[in-house]
């Protein structure tokens, strides 16, 4: 993975020093909260319902075991012993004290981490495929370009006061695990007819109150033009994005209002002015960064492992976990281990300091020292030998991280909701917990199969409910918490926005309602038919009948 050189280190250290000064000015009263606000918001520090919340960047979701141990240390020293992994592959701490934040950041800097641009109307942490570098069929490791974009966007002098926050995701695979089409910019590595690698650009996707699947504006941008093309898009947006209405300020609204074709032309016009000049990405730099992402020293192993086979036969729980949570690795004899942070009844994405340390140890011993954070709020050990899977599973299970529920109904995404967030209409976490408990039986989950449930506590959609197969949105009805259900959403390569099923359900009714949706699915599905397939085929009517007939 990427390691800082002297320049990267200097920039992060100087940032810590600068922020320490800003906090000191706030604490001494030189700065009012109003004046301090924009400054702290450039550094991931939010004021929540009960306390400050600090969001730490995990660039494109990749961590070393040393970094993971530092996250555990921070959880213990500055928080209440846990952290929360987010849908942006970051980690949030819910209880740091303002005066201690500079020390926290200094600790982070010792392991090459920071909180730069994890909030504010700027270019946020770039996200990527959690299987980057280990998935079969990938064109190149997309993290090379994520790192290039991370550096380019860090303290960008022109694009730090955009109309609104700006999110970029990069993938290099046909199977889109990074949800690139619901980002402000989604970048897919592709090959052109001549066999060169370049980038396909989607712009103007997003969730929130106007969910949009981003359209393509350029089918092939050359590698050397990556940064100039990004500059051109951002420059058009910075000038023309709406600033009069918070809810119309994202780039998706601009793209929609001028039209995709016209927007692409505006970008192209801007690009012609700056193309082939100082923004060209030097091949030297691509090569330099690529060297950090070179594959680790894999052993030559047979594709199947005899001991693994025995263990699978002897232990049904382990067998279920391997089937559900271990994905195909591009190298024979290795597997990609998904660590569920969704124990039954738990808070999605939460991990204790002890759990983080267990994961760090496992990564160090069994996965070339690397961990990934997924946008579905789980963790990944990308490079585990098949012969090591059993010990890894045992260690994870002993720490409540061995649940074999990856991709099932209990592997939910949930935003913090009313328990933490001051914008919320309704609680999200307890709804997730109750659904999880209702479907606690693993064999029932496995029988249902893949089913993505996503919960947001308000229309800002941090829980991505629009792209849940089953989406749940907290709404306020005369001061009561209600939940609207949407069906048929997807964030992958077949990205689509879910459709609203009908009137919302109360806090007490919502779990029953979800169960009824699942019942309809089980009743009507053809053998092997996925939830989305069924919704496509039969529409919402059978669901409506079941859920609203009695009302």
């Amino acid at each position: 993975m990427y390691r800082y050189d002297e320049f990267d280190r200097t920039i992060v250290d100087e940032r810590v020093k600068q922020f320490r000064g800003q906090v000191a000015r706030r604490v001494s009263g030189d700065l009012t909260e109003e004046q301090f606000r924009p400054l702290r918001l450039m550094n991931g520090l939010y004021l929540q319902l009960h306390a400050y919340m600090l969001r730490v960047a995990v660039p494109y979701g990749t961590l070393s075991s040393k970094q993971m141990r530092m996250l555990a240390h921070i959880a213990r020293k500055y928080d209440k012993g846990y952290g929360h992994f987010t849908t942006r592959q970051n980690i949030q701490y819910n209880w740091p004290k303002l005066e201690e934040v500079p020390d926290l950041l200094a600790d982070l800097a010792t392991v090459e981490m920071h909180a730069i641009q994890t909030s504010g109307n700027c270019i946020r942490n770039v996200t990527s495929d959690q299987y980057a570098g280990v998935a079969a069929g990938e064109i190149e490791d997309p993290r090379v370009y994520c790192e290039i974009i991370r550096q380019w966007s860090t303290f960008h002098p022109e694009f730090s006061f955009l109309p609104r926050k700006f999110k970029i995701a990069v993938t290099a695979s046909e199977d889109d695990r990074a949800a690139i089409r619901v980002h402000d910019i989604g970048i897919q590595l592709v090959k052109n007819a001549a066999g060169e690698t370049g980038f396909r650009f989607f712009v103007g996707g997003g969730l929130g109150r106007t969910p949009v699947v981003g359209p393509e504006i350029n089918s092939f941008v050359k590698k050397k033009d990556l940064l100039s093309y990004l500059e051109a898009i951002l420059r058009v947006y910075n000038q023309l994005g709406r600033r009069d209405n918070l809810y119309k300020a994202r780039i998706k609204i601009l793209v929609r209002s001028v039209g995709t074709g016209e927007f692409a032309e505006m970008v192209d016009k801007e690009w012609q002015f700056i193309k082939d000049g100082k923004y060209d990405l030097p091949q030297d730099e691509i090569d330099r960064i690529k060297a950090y992402f070179a594959p680790p020293a894999y052993e030559t192993l047979p594709a199947t492992d005899a001991t693994l086979k025995d263990k699978i036969e002897a232990n049904a729980d382990f067998a279920a976990w391997v089937k559900r949570n271990v994905a195909e690795h591009k190298v024979p004899g290795y597997g990609i281990v998904n660590i569920s942070l969704k124990p039954i009844g738990g808070i999605p994405g939460d991990a204790t300091a002890e759990q983080m340390e267990v994961v760090a140890d496992l990564a160090e011993k069994y996965s070339f020292d690397e961990v990934r954070v997924t946008h579905e709020q789980n963790l990944v050990l990308p490079d585990v030998k098949k012969s090591d899977l059993f010990v890894v599973w045992e260690a994870l299970s002993a720490s409540d991280m061995g649940t074999s529920n990856l991709g099932t109904i209990t592997d939910m995404i949930s935003c913090p909701g009313l328990d933490y967030c001051n914008l919320a209409n309704a609680r999200s976490i307890p709804v997730a917990q109750r659904i999880s408990e209702r479907f606690a039986d693993l064999s029932r989950q496995h029988d249902i199969g893949d089913l993505k449930v996503k919960i947001s506590g308000c229309i800002n959609a941090c829980g991505h409910h629009h792209v849940g197969n089953i989406g749940i949105l907290g709404v306020d009805k005369k001061g009561q918490e209600f939940y609207q259900i949407t069906l048929g959403g997807s964030a992958t390569e077949d990205a689509s926005i879910g459709k609203i099923l009908g009137p919302a359900f109360s806090y007490d009714e919502i779990v029953d309602a979800v169960e009824k949706v699942v019942d309809v699915y089980l009743e009507h599905r053809a053998p092997g038919e996925a939830f989305l397939g069924l919704v496509d085929r039969v529409g919402l009517d059978p669901f409506k009948e079941k859920l609203y007939a009695a009302h």
Binding site: I11, Q18, P157, Q239, R243, P282, E285
Partner: protein, 167 residues
């Protein structure tokens, strides 16, 4: 208002003109509307001419007239409104404007660094006493990742130049 230019507080020789009044003598700054209306007389008067643009007025609107101006002031109606960062770069890079580009309005100490990098070279500030503070803020970062318009070499160049030199 105190003006920071060239790392110090300097006397501001410019006067902002109202849209209707008789123009004062000397160097004046006018709004776009007045420029559109009185182009000819403004061009023929003695003294330098400056233009102030609101944040919804792109310099593209005066692309053909830029030679007439020695100063362009770009307004920040609120610190959050970052359009003028792009305008300043456009003036310098696309239109090769060499006069003064001045930041006016809600200009914050913590933005000075970025403004400077985008091509601003003068800053109207509320209080001359904060100069030292501002200058410090402008120097908080010694390395930068992106090529821009200040004298700083981007990390991209430094990395590959030092490497080349060492080879």
């Amino acid at each position: 208002m105190p003006l920071i230019k060239g790392d110090q507080i300097t006397e501001d020789p410019w006067v902002y003109a109202d849209d209707e009044d008789e123009l004062p003598s000397g160097d004046v700054v006018v709004h776009l509307e007045r420029w559109e209306k009185d182009k000819d007389s403004l061009r023929s008067r003695n003294g330098k001419l400056g233009l102030i643009l609101r944040s919804d007025q792109s310099p593209e609107l005066v692309a053909d007239d830029l030679a007439a101006f020695d100063l362009i002031a770009l307004d920040f109606p609120a610190f959050k409104d970052g359009r003028a960062f792009s305008y300043a770069r456009m003036l310098r890079e696309r239109f090769a404007f060499e006069g003064e580009i001045r930041a006016v309005g809600d200009v914050h100490r913590d933005q000075l660094f970025f403004m400077h990098r985008c091509g601003f070279d003068a800053f109207e500030v509320e209080n001359a006493a904060v100069l030292q503070d501002w200058l410090e803020a402008a120097r908080e970062f010694t390395s930068v990742y992106q090529p821009a318009l200040d004298a700083k070499q981007s990390v991209l160049r430094l990395r590959h130049h030092t490497k080349k030199a060492a080879e």
